[in-house]
Symmetry: C2
Subunit: 421 residues, 2 copies
């Protein structure tokens, strides 16, 4: 590999040659003494006894991983009660997001609502207005699916330029969990939708209520009234005991502490779908009802918070890709700012409206890289460049920035958020 | 539905009739006053502000869920340092097990080992003995898969009779996580396996070392040297920073704090594969090398720790099924102690050597039930009854009890662990 900017994938032979050197280097090289006492001496942890099984009935990450947490950006929103934090995607691998570090967005803070106090009302244009307790919901047939949930404002600060220096901050308003719940259509059918009912208006039990209108076609399709995520109860900050899951659609519609579903003739045009969560174009008009999250991807490592900590040789480039329109079909990676592309490897069969993990294993020659990823979904849609997106949408938008991200990786392995023309 | 023992699945019409009554009942019946102040009055949580996004950089379950934790059974093993606890499978849904409540088994306690102090040695019959640092491992191409990990002793107390009153205790030595790591074959190929190398002997860095022999065919197949589970670093109790993942094979071989891999000509016949983890038959001879976990299933709800809390009508029966030989093909459920069976619904496409979630939605008539589930895997193998298993294996075994479990569900909804002849 003579130039990393040509982006050839390391051949098997090259890779093996590089990796063998790694092994030998670790044992005898700069990283460790020779002989390495961590190999030749009996260590403390191999002599004493460790912690017993009663130590942590519910475990937390080990103390060495305390930097792998949600983070807020104080200047983004002044008040943490109505704010957002970010998933540490730069430090995660695989596709599942643990609930404990999955991003939060609150409009009036995370409330504490018990199962006993929980009620869900369905009213409006229905034959039988109904109220369900939590125990009632558990009696309906359940489904489960892994879905991503992305805030419409994810990457929103990047419309104006390369601003936030880390994948956690540019792309961390996203999580991917295995949700279990009751299809919304089941509950709507219980109530009996009247012919004029074409929309549902969904509301949370918190002070903000965060009301949103959803067209009936989507409500009867794949929306879940969910009570578990990754097997266990929803965490308080994710809407315990019940949240709405609106697959592929912007996170603001995934109403937490779900309280009421009203069947209506038309959209309510609430605050959250008029002054907020609409996209102002260059001519001052606004796009509304921009529900679906278009195909998008990002390299999570290397990235500003996940620099390369070794010299030239084998390097794993990895990231995430997703589409609100369905499955990811293909991801390409460029190390020369989009001049040439190499098809990345998807780690598993892509899920519908779920995160896919991609890898490109290269033999890094130590040169600078302009690292990008580009997703294509099953509809054939290709993730646009920032320039292409600005040409169509202008610079006034906050939401729905799904453009290609660029990291400038330097020769010392550090990376920065940059724009390429 | 005249008799629940005939096991008919509720028809759609029956289900809807039952469920409509639920909705109405909740609003006007015994559970709530009429009018229900939880509907008609503005509640405290809808007026004040909730918790901000800085509250929990890494979140924990809400305080209402403090019973959904790992539990130990003190009389099973006297010393918690060399003991086991159990996943609360009775309270989970879906398939993913959060790391925080995934069962633990330690032979000398959970040790704390940093990435900096971590070394992995490959020696024995190899061309190039190698030592890898943690950072070295991160440079090899990664894979990820969701796999179950089941202790060979799971359900072991039940050989002698129905002993432990809860799915957590009878079947909770299991978890299911999305593992990310480097294929073991990649590292072995780096070292260069010599022709005489037919086995690997794997060891942990803890005092017990927990050494196990693995035939080369498996080592080169799907074994992972894993460093992430469900996206994040392994927890301390799950082997941080690196554990072995041996898909479909007994959990004891999934060596934590992985320290050394020696290529050998034959099995080492260590303590953990001779006096332990072998199965003594009725005639006093022992089965050894019983690595694969055969197809198995259990109803997780209703079950002794998850009783039915409502009267007759719609009831969700759910549970888990898995096989170390591959994918689950089918699960049947009986409510009459195995006289008649109904095919359950699998919640998603079964994964290879991963937990599958099954559901059977019935219209419970309020009668007693003898609840069972029976798994079939893609090889055609069918989970045996306890009697069938005892006929072949006798009563001396501790490990590899994969028999059909029976819960006696009473008319009041409570359930007990029982045996049926």
């Amino acid at each position: 590999m003579t130039s990393s900017f040509k982006g050839p994938k390391a051949s098997r032979r090259q890779f093996l040659a590089g990796a063998a050197a790694i092994g030998a280097g670790a044992a005898t090289g700069a990283r460790a003494q020779s002989p390495d006492p961590l190999i030749t001496e009996v260590q403390e942890w191999a002599q004493g006894l460790g912690e017993g099984v009663d130590a942590t009935p519910y475990g937390m990450p080990i103390r060495f991983e305390t930097d792998v947490v949600r983070r807020n950006v104080p200047w983004l929103t002044a008040d943490p009660i109505s704010s957002i934090n970010f998933t540490p995607i730069h430090a995660l691998d695989g596709t599942i997001t643990p609930q404990g570090c999955a991003f939060e967005r609150h409009h009036s803070g995370a409330i504490e609502l018990s199962k006993d106090d929980y009620r869900l009302m369905i009213n409006g244009l229905v034959d039988r207005p109904l109220v369900f307790t939590y125990a009632d919901l558990e009696r309906f047939p359940r489904e489960q699916h892994v879905y991503f949930c992305e805030c419409a404002a994810n990457t929103g600060m990047e419309w104006a330029g390369a601003q936030l220096n880390g994948a956690q901050f540019t792309h961390g308003m996203i999580h991917n969990m295995e949700y279990t719940g009751v299809p919304l259509r089941t509950l709507l059918n219980e109530a009996g939708i009247q012919t004029e009912g074409k929309w549902v208006y969904v509301e949370g039990a918190d002070a903000s209520s965060n009301g949103r209108s959803i067209p009936m076609e989507k409500a009867l399709d794949d929306v879940l009234v969910a009570f578990k995520a990754n097997g266990e109860a929803l965490r308080k900050e994710h809407g315990y005991p019940v949240r709405l899951v609106v697959p592929g659609w912007e996170g603001n519609m995934w109403v937490k502490w779900l309280r009421r579903i009203e069947v209506t003739t038309q959209a309510v045009e609430s605050r959250e779908e008029t002054s907020k969560y609409t996209d102002t174009l260059a001519d001052g008009t606004s796009r509304k009802w921009t529900w679906v999250m278009d195909a998008k991807s990002v390299v999570t490592s290397p990235s500003p918070q996940s620099p390369i900590t070794h010299g030239p040789g084998p390097l794993v480039i990895t990231g995430l890709a997703w589409s609100g329109h369905g499955k990811i079909k293909r991801v390409d990676v460029s190390i020369d700012g989009g001049k040439t592309w190499e098809q990345a490897r998807l780690a598993s069969e892509p899920g519908d409206k779920a995160l896919s993990r991609f890898y490109l294993d290269i033999n890094w020659d130590g040169s600078e890289m302009l690292l990008q990823s580009r997703a294509m979904d099953e509809t054939g849609y290709v993730q646009p460049t920032k320039a292409q997106l600005r040409d169509v949408r202008g610079l006034n938008s906050v939401y729905h920035n799904n453009c290609i991200q660029t990291w400038h990786v330097k020769t010392n392995g550090e990376a920065e958020n940059v724009e390429v023309s």
